[in-house]
Symmetry: C3
Subunit: 346 residues, 3 copies
């Protein structure tokens, strides 16, 4: 494909002495002749001068470079679209595999693909063009919108609802019982029947081996456009706001509500029953134990303002020095007092 054609499709400005052929997309360190590469993370700018790529996608704000470049305000998005020009996804065949066990009353939309050994229980409704990979299990009364993709090993429990274009990677569990046990008083517990469900709205993507629990009553809800990485835990009755992004191994305890566009770094944890305001940023490994105002940037466990945290964290390795400074002060002060005392006595 000609670089000029790619520029046209990606809506980039081409900076090149003459046109050239592009045969593939590659990372800046791995690229070779014929490859188009990109830089969006500033950490990689230093690699531009050594790349063997034939051309590069770059931000419009970066200085001129020695190789042909495609300039755009959003190089990461342009890279994403360039990938689509050169790579077709591996798709399963459409139709229902003969080994799939599908309840007689299940409704299957047109163009759906259901893989080997999938199980679709009674009362399920599956939208048009849904892709169900092998070994997916839908418990009774599950409802899937159109163009949903459920990868192998996904399990959706009874009565849960997934909107249109939801993508769930492998091994993720939607709608398992929430963790609810009432202490009886003798040290043992009474299981609280989890009667609610999980609702996942349109355009959500969930990673692999996540767990999203059904609510005791009412619903657990992942709102439109939210993205969850792998091994994320969503407790019963929790809510994740629109376009929020949760990195891997994040955990939300029960009934916690994340607003819109919240970003949570890897392994961050949220106690139960908290309200997290829109556009908050919760740094990796933070621990949230209270409500969070919209637009907050928090870090630490327990978390507090991220800019203060950075300074506190920088001082933490200096605690031994701080202790020495205090001891020195105590000593000097005692010496000074003794000196004054002896001066007075003279």
């Amino acid at each position: 494909m000609k670089l000029s054609e790619i520029a046209l499709i990606l809506e980039c400005r081409m900076e090149a002495a003459h046109d050239l052929d592009i045969t593939g997309i590659a990372g800046i360190e791995e690229a070779g002749p014929g490859h188009l590469t990109f830089v969006s993370n500033r950490k990689y700018i230093r690699h531009i001068k050594n790349t063997r790529a034939s051309a590069i996608i770059l931000g419009i704000d970066l200085p001129p470079v020695d190789i042909p470049s495609l300039r755009t305000p959003n190089p990461y998005l342009a890279f994403a679209r360039a990938l689509e020009l050169f790579h077709e996804p591996v798709l399963p065949p459409s139709g229902i595999h003969p080994t799939a066990v599908i309840a007689g009353d299940a409704e299957i939309g047109s163009g759906a693909s259901i893989g080997a050994y999938a199980v679709v229980e009674r009362g399920c409704r599956i939208g048009a063009r849904v892709t169900i990979y092998p070994h997916v299990v839908l418990y009774p009364e599950v409802c899937l919108g159109e163009d949903v993709i459920l990868h192998a090993g996904v399990i959706v429990r009874e009565c849960c609802i997934l909107g249109h274009r939801v993508i769930i990677q492998n091994g993720t569990i939607v709608g398992s019982d929430g963790f609810g046990f009432a202490p009886i008083g003798d040290g043992t517990y009474h299981k609280i029947r989890q009667t609610g469900r999980v609702i996942i709205e349109n355009d959500v993507e969930v990673g692999s081996n996540c767990t999203i629990d059904r609510a005791a009553i009412g619903e657990t809800r992942i709102r439109r456009g939210a993205k969850l990485d792998n091994l994320v835990q969503i407790g019963h009755g929790a809510q994740v706001g629109e376009d929020s992004v949760l990195a891997a191994q994040v955990g939300l305890a029960g009934s916690t509500r994340l607003g819109r566009n919240v970003q949570a770094g890897g392994q961050a944890g949220f106690a139960g029953h908290q309200d997290i305001g829109d556009n908050s940023v919760i740094m990796a490994q933070s621990g949230i134990h209270g409500d969070v105002a919209a637009g907050s940037v928090l870090s630490g466990s327990p978390a507090f303002d991220g800019s203060v945290w950075r300074r506190s964290a920088a001082l933490f390795p200096k605690l031994p020095e701080i202790q020495r400074q205090i001891r020195a002060l105590e000593k000097e002060l005692a010496a000074l007092k003794a000196q004054i005392q002896s001066g007075n006595e003279k």
Copy 2:
């Protein structure tokens, strides 16, 4: 159902001007007319005055409210029982699905339900009224007690034993190989054959996508009544005591033993070979690197006494201020010394 009937069944004291019909149970913010709601977490008391519920389950210690109430010393337990009055669980059909692959010598108890594509290997013994959902795999020689429930995707490895009424949510692995590798001396490792097993005692519930490793020798044991949330890791040879409660994403390294009624908050981690005393409370995200005395309340990583930790954690954001105070002291002291020096020289 009449509120008075519910009061009778739940053994609550009814405070209401007259009887009324209840049609369902709902959370205090979601409830509408006809609903019975509840408050057990004090954070929600402020919602009582605005709830649209027709009646409420409340602790006997709370002041009078404007709507009919059911009073009980344990409102959370009463709520749990109320749910059971209005919601029947979705149960799979009994009997063995024709696609289940069951070894000829496996013993299946009466009233068992075995779902589609379940695999039960040779030598397994399954108790009466066990529910095995689709896509469960039992390796050889597994033994399940009566009334066990294994949700879709659960895998139980060879020779593991589960007691009566054990419930395991989806995708959890019981008995995978422990993480044992002996360094050979050249930088590589020799895998240690994991010859032990996992024993899960009566009335244990385990969440989704957990991993409970078999022991190298002997056993990994989850004792009677313990409750594990999702994505919990139990290392080889570890033990969880009776009625202990582990929140989501907790990790126990190998050979660590938790006593009875231990509570571990989300994402807490335990190093290997530690003994954790009965009734200990380990706060969320804590890191345990030593033995813990019975009844301890620990927090932080590394963890120490929780009440001290609260004060230290409150001072952590003040480290920049502490540093400023020390610098001010140093300056003032130097000035004072200079002043005294110059006074002496006069």
Copy 3:
């Protein structure tokens, strides 16, 4: 088996008055008559005097003991080999189970075992003597080396490659989509097609319910001999070096590269795009946010030098005392200044 025979096979020096029969291997606290036990972790030395074992494997550096002993420089390795003398692994039958769904063009090596309901898609190549347990799914074009073991519930996504003797415990996902979304500018995201793959080299073992994401472009790579415990997350484009060991619940964000022989403790987290030098040791629950020099020992979140961290961590519980000391200094200094002032005024 005679103790002298075991000594011969394990290449240990026997210290015993006369030979004896050994019937099994057991832990030092559980062992009884006839058992051979071992001590490699120094924490258990104190148990030697009370063990009921008939003989013990011990380091050559430990003092004489009252029971027959097998002495070796590497008691943990000798224990591992002793286990193999007494315990045969439970192996599945060889051959292909009639319910396995295998694409017509898949190549299956000689002596392979493929279990019930396994799915092997088109274009897969499976080496000799591979063991595929029930309910494993291989997406199209997967390539497995010889003597690979995939436990029940493992899923390997399209085009991924596993070397020889790779072992993957249950429920682990290899090659799910990396977590890549380009912000469009209106608050929503554009999914970045994940066109790369995962390569797992020879002699790697991966635990249960791990997630190893495919790269957006290029590859995610787990190098020769690396060992990953359960619930480990490997982001897209990340690399784990040869013989590196990652404890349970560790998370690597995208494009982070671990060198050789890196050790990461449980729940440690690595931000994206970091380079971690050979032989580094990252303690449990640490958070790595920058490049790490080879041979570093780091702890804390954010992590810094482990020996400094130990001192800082020991002072953290003393922050309230440090604050009191500063207040006392301020008070004393003020009193001293007042005293001098009043002295000067006299």
